[in-house]
């Protein structure tokens, strides 16, 4: 019983942290004039939740963050983009983690970032009903991999912090 409450509290904190990181990131001016390139720092929390707690827990943190950020900062369209990107990234990260046997979390993060952008590109193609947005693809792939690598490393160091059991 005690462990469950601790877990729920931890997941709640992580969701709030993820939301705060996302809010902060949305204040930053766009680094490159290409739509969809962002640091993607909330991925750090998702990776951390995935490694520390598990797939379902990471999924719930992601869902909570997506819904809250859409309600607070976004609109219906942005929610569609975020859902597509966020969940494909999570699924790919789960698969990648399995394949790599939990090692090299930065590579898992890189794949997550890459597929997040792939999903958003796809969603943009569907919404705009045109394939012209594909021209952004190479930039989005490279940016996704690089930001994913960075968030993977950050999650790696975050996981090394030992939380005392009281």
């Amino acid at each position: 019983m005690k462990k469950d409450i601790r877990k729920i509290t931890a997941l709640g904190l992580l969701s709030a942290l993820c939301l705060a990181i996302y809010a902060f990131e949305s204040l930053l001016p766009p680094l490159l004039p290409i739509p969809g390139i962002k640091p993607g720092l909330s991925n750090i929390i998702i990776l951390y939740s995935l490694k520390r707690f598990g797939k379902k827990e990471a999924g719930s943190v992601l869902l909570v963050r997506l819904l809250l950020s859409a309600i607070l900062f976004g609109n219906a369209i942005s929610l569609i983009y975020s859902l597509a990107g966020g969940f494909l990234a999570l699924i790919i990260e789960i698969v990648s983690d399995k394949i790599l046997s939990g090692k090299n979390i930065q590579i898992t993060g890189a794949f997550g970032g890459l597929f997040h952008n792939i999903a958003q590109l796809f969603t943009a193609m569907l919404i705009m009903q045109s394939a012209a947005v594909l021209s952004y693809a190479p930039y989005l792939f490279i940016a996704g991999i690089i930001t994913g690598l960075f968030t993977g490393y950050a999650a790696h160091f975050m996981l090394k912090i030992k939380i005392p059991e009281t």
Binding site: S96, N104, S130, A132
Partner: protein, 130 residues
């Protein structure tokens, strides 16, 4: 696994270099899936200002610069290309994208579902290399 990522990065870099210098001639402005304006770059004298209203049911474009209530973009077209100079979207990424005269670089405003593409002479091919 790392190898897959490296291959993707290499392919992307090659892709970017390959389309870098393509130039286009025909400007297409598409809003909510509907082509609201199209024209030839070389037939533009001076500059042409268009305001596009991205209404989901009936998107339309008209000459002039007049901010509307919802979902508008103001586009400036010269013989050098097209760019967005004003819009009501949140981040103004579309304005920062700058001017485009190449099929490799469309200018889009995702919140307003607007897309400006400059295609090659033949609508089917964007560029031909020999």
């Amino acid at each position: 696994m790392t190898a897959i990522l490296i291959v993707i990065i290499l392919v992307s870099v090659i892709w970017i270099c390959a389309v870098k210098n393509t130039k286009g001639k025909i400007v297409n402005i598409v809003s909510n899936g509907v082509t609201v304006w199209t024209g030839d770059l070389s037939s533009i004298e001076g500059e042409l200002i268009l305001t596009v209203v991205g209404d989901p049911d009936t998107p339309y474009a008209f000459e002039g610069n007049s901010p509307q209530e919802n979902h508008y973009n103001v586009i400036r077209i010269t013989s050098e290309g097209a760019c967005i100079i004003d819009s009501d979207c949140r981040n103004h990424i579309c304005i920062h994208e700058g001017i485009t005269d190449s099929p490799a670089k469309p200018v889009v405003c995702l919140p307003n579902k607007l897309m400006i593409t400059v295609t090659g002479e033949n609508p089917d091919t964007d560029a031909i290399t020999y």
